[in-house]
Symmetry: C2
Subunit: 295 residues, 2 copies
């Protein structure tokens, strides 16, 4: 079975898990819970939970043990998309062919539901810790890692700097890498380590996963920018060419150099897996698959 | 020494602690950290951390043990004020005589810094758990309680319903109480229990604190509405009369009935302290002081 088929099966299973762990949309206040479900159950690729499960496998653990923390990372990702789309940020009208959350529910409900979803993610991480009998330092580290990945040194910081450079095409490499590392990379990294942290994985194994995910996250963002610059909208699944006025790795360095960088980063991600003793085949195949998308 | 003087001394100490535990404003991305500090260091009354410290005393613990979690509750409160003030919500121009955060830093930075502050609060709770050697279930419960107090069943839910009834003066008691319980009460409750949860306090002591804080929070909101309706702006420290078109306990039931309700709730809060063996004098005085403000 090819990796594309495996990823599609995984995606379906993750979709079921994401739905199962959300609050019911009939719960009061209904509009908030409807907005949460709308923001999550929208046909995403679910790459973050999929690499979370593949990381659990690499550590020798069953996927069932980390379902809640894998879902929490995807909820955080969905929360970030709702915020990115707001009128004060990217002012996006549609996402995956549907009106963005703030257009469907209003800006206030968009913001509030995104924060509620973020809180739901932290509850699930705490619950997951209790489920697997994690000790105090492990639960604390998982919570701290997720909070750091999201906060001012992570996703929020990356989004802020991304907004600051809006309209500029001349941006130095350091700033570009800062944005990619924080806006995309930080959540990839925590996706691979959150479950293992709760399950008491060896620090060197977590380091290997962190290096894998850091390189993969950077590559993933560059590949996304390549697809935006030259992809076929139907294949990519969203509007393309939207970043033409925006500094990205591609608009700054051109497609050829971007493709080379993505290739180097993917090679580095795959190399990092050598530090792990467990079954890293799935993580390896995911990295290779991401690179294939850019050709 | 009178309670007003004690509260003023506490407030100054809390201000120092709040500043000490924030990220430095020189840290990159600077605007986010400036906005965070601007939103927190604004001369608030700091009632939530003050009752957190008084609760630690009632449980027989030194205040030093729970500084981080006490700060985390105030950070969450400040985050909620930034969000409430946004153009899509209350569209407030000033808070404590200064431009609101989104007016000073822009809407996007306002939203992002509020979320970053929320994440910082969760980091501190996790750190506090490690500092006091809390076990896994205790750290998980503290994180879960804070997330619940903030999320769709707490503060966010309360703010959402509060926005839904905007412009209506005819609102049933159940809805009013829902808003007060969630928007104000939930954070008061978690302020009194968060430290004790990390320190392994007895469930019956935490129950007593929860009942105290639940009644105090409801009373506090009603007293705030009374002061809004008839207070002297200089004494209250903010604009008054802003809720004249809004359903509050006072606009629905009138000042007299509101004052009676506040008195009943404060009496209930003080009674709840009877369940605790420790030194509850400070909690008791705070409750009495809150009621005094409404006369």
């Amino acid at each position: 079975m090819g990796i594309a088929t495996v990823l599609e099966q995984e995606r379906r299973q993750v979709d079921e898990e994401l739905e199962r762990h959300l609050p019911d949309e009939g719960e009061y206040p209904e509009r908030i819970h409807e907005a949460i479900r709308y923001s999550v159950l929208n046909g995403g690729k679910r790459l973050r939970p999929i690499i979370a499960f593949a990381s659990a496998r690499a550590l020798g653990h069953d996927r069932a043990k980390i379902v809640k923390s894998a879902c929490s990372v995807e909820y955080v990702h969905c929360c970030s998309l709702v915020l990115d789309d707001l009128p004060s940020m990217d002012d996006a009208m549609t996402r995956r062919g549907q009106p963005t959350t703030h257009r469907a529910f209003g800006v206030a409900t968009g913001i509030l539901s995104a924060d509620a979803l973020l809180m739901h993610a932290f509850k699930l991480v705490a619950d997951n810790g209790v489920d697997v009998g994690a000790d105090g330092p492990s639960v604390a580290k998982a919570v701290r890692d997720l909070a750091t990945a999201v906060g001012s040194y992570g996703m929020v910081g990356g989004q802020h700097v991304d907004l600051e450079i809006a309209g500029r095409r001349n941006v130095d490499n350091e700033t570009l890498e800062y944005i990619q590392t924080r806006k995309t990379g930080a959540l990839f990294v925590v996706a691979t380590t959150l479950g293992g942290t709760l399950l008491g994985a060896a620090p060197e194994d977590l380091d290997g996963l962190r290096q894998y995910a850091g390189s993969l996250g950077l590559a993933y963002q560059i590949i996304d920018d390549i697809l935006d610059a030259e992809g076929d909208p139907e294949e990519v699944g969203k509007d393309v060419g939207k970043d033409v006025d925006k500094a990205t790795y591609v608009t700054v360095h051109g497609v050829e150099r971007a493709r080379e960088s993505a290739g180097r980063l993917i090679a580095r991600a795959r190399e990092a897996l050598g530090a792990l003793d467990g079954d890293t085949a799935m993580l390896d195949e995911i990295a290779a698959y991401c690179l294939d998308r850019s050709h």
